[in-house]
Amino acid sequence: MWSYERRLQYPVNIKERNPRLAQVIMSQFGGPDGELAASMRYLSQRYSTKNRKVAGILTDIGTEELAHR
C-alpha cells in the first residue's frame, strides 16, 4: 500500500501562467508515455520477476514515479 506525504518531492514556484507549457507537462504526467503510466508498469512488472533485487528496485522506482506529483 502507499501513503501520502503532504509535500512535494521538489519545491516549485510558478511565476507566470503558461497554458502551452502546462499542456506539455500534463501530457508528460498523464499521457501515453507519462509518469502515471510508467509507475503502473513498474509496479505491475515487479510481480513477474524472479530476481529479488529487481522486484525491490521496481517497487521503489514505481513508488518514485508516483512521488513526482
Binding site: 503532504r6 512535494l8 518531492q9 521538489y10 519545491p11 533485487k53 521503489d60
Partner: protein, 85 residues
C-alpha cells in the same frame, strides 16, 4: 516558531528526503556498501528529527499523525499544489 524556521525545517525535510529517495534505489542493488549504509543512517537521523519537529510545531505531513483532540484537520491546511510547499 516563526515563518523562517518553518521554511528552514521544511527545506531540511525536502533535502534529506531527496537524498534518501536516491540512496534507496542504490541500496536496493548494493545492499552491503558500507559507505552508503553509513550515509543512510546519518541522513535518516536528521530527517526523522526534522519531521518530528515539523509535525509537532506546524502539523502533520503524514495523515497517520493527525491529532484529533479537537476535530479532523487534515484537509484544512493548503495542499502542496495550492502554493509553495
Amino acid at each position: 516558531m516563526d515563518k523562517t524556521s518553518r521554511e528552514k525545517l521544511f527545506a531540511c525535510i525536502t533535502a534529506t528526503s531527496f537524498v534518501l529517495d536516491d540512496l534507496r534505489l542504490y541500496l536496493d542493488t548494493h545492499p552491503n556498501d558500507q559507505e552508503a549504509l553509513d550515509y543512510w543512517r546519518k541522513v535518516q537521523r536528521v530527517r526523522n528529527e526534522a519531521v518530528e519537529e515539523y509535525t509537532k510545531c506546524f502539523g502533520p505531513i503524514y495523515s497517520y499523525d493527525v491529532d484529533v483532540s479537537n476535530r479532523w484537520t487534515w484537509v484544512d491546511e493548503p495542499w502542496p499544489w495550492e502554493g509553495r510547499c
